[in-house]
Subunit: 216 residues, 2 copies
């Protein structure tokens, strides 16, 4: 087992391994070699063994990996057992979609409340999650230590909200607002979902295939 700093590339592959392993469990596969796993995931066996070896020795020589064990290890590395508490700020369609369909619990997260400014939904609950008034957010966070805030508010108030919650001691912001949050709070990690980056990349690949078609 190495002790060096884990590269981002490795970290970003961990959730992919998790999904694949869950899929294997669903299909009742109970052991797999790095060779077979690599084939199914489009990675080399070497890379898979290197990735896991950053964290420990999870396999058995001559046998491969026990799927459920490996799944547990990956889940542990990702901190899924910690049950990070989560609050959603902004209950428009997107916030609503995440509350109703994302499955925080299945991913090991504990969604406890939502906040919005609209009188129509304040006081209601969505899939069992209570919706409170955003005006109370700051106070609420101070009384209820929260690990992660999901930011699904309109762009116009995004920066302000982010700064507010960062000041209340949250440890991560899952940012859906498509703005660059340059918080200078060192303890607060920002993870962005930039929808447009993803769609534009797709557009690039399609446009590229067009031009290479032309050459053929």
């Amino acid at each position: 087992m190495k002790k060096e700093r884990i590269s981002n590339n490795v970290i970003r592959r961990l959730p992919m391994y998790l999904r694949k392993l869950d899929d294997l469990i669903y299909h009742e596969v109970d052991r797999i070699s790095s060779g077979e796993l690599g084939k199914q995931m489009g990675l080399t066996p070497s890379q898979i063994r290197q990735d896991f070896s950053c964290f420990g020795e999870f396999g058995q020589q001559g046998y491969g990996y026990r799927v459920t064990d490996l799944r547990e290890q990956v889940a542990r590395i990702l901190g899924m057992h910690k049950g990070f508490t989560v609050v959603i700020v902004g209950v428009g369609n997107l916030g609503h979609a995440l509350i109703a369909n994302f499955g925080f619990k299945e991913q090991g997260f504990n969604l406890v409340a939502a906040f919005d400014t609209s009188a129509d939904i304040i006081g209601t609950s969505i899939s069992g999650i209570p919706v409170y008034d955003s005006a109370l957010l700051s106070d609420w966070l101070k009384r209820n230590p929260t690990d992660i805030v999901v930011l699904t508010v309109p762009r116009s108030i995004a920066r302000n909200m982010a700064e507010t919650v960062a000041d209340c001691g949250v440890r991560g912001i899952w940012n859906f607002t498509n703005i660059e949050l340059e918080l200078d709070k060192p303890g607060v990690r920002v993870e962005n979902i930039h929808f447009s980056d993803s769609l534009l990349a797709l557009g690039y690949y399609i446009a590229e295939s067009e031009s290479s078609d032309g050459i053929k």
Copy 2:
């Protein structure tokens, strides 16, 4: 200008440049050097110049880059002028959110229709986009050549829908269903938004900061 294959890393940075340049235009900055751009984006000047040099010579020695020109070049590289046609399949909260708030037009895409199975919304329109019966999707796509399908359906029908639209000649699938779409249609590019991968990575970084705090 190099002619070699463009690496994925470069391609994924292009939308980030675009966002930054739009921001600079908004703030009425009309020229910028690779040094200053790098400082603002957290990249080295070398990397920025290398990235752009894959596509042409967009700067002026001794001056830097004209922001609006560079923005146009990046937009062109991404194919934003092509006006790819888009259809959304699945109008739950997430599909609804994308129709109402994503801003396809601003990103150069032409959203023309949505499809769903719910009698409640078939025949209505959302932000001017008509919602049709999913049963008609296949026929509709054959009559209306479509570049991109946004897949915001429940997981249970995701694979089936993906195969259907791939057979109808779409060129890209923007997949929000959190399943791995292994289409063996070579002409169809799949771009995934894996919400859970993103949140799990955030959880990892938070968990990691915990353990390194312990060492301090």
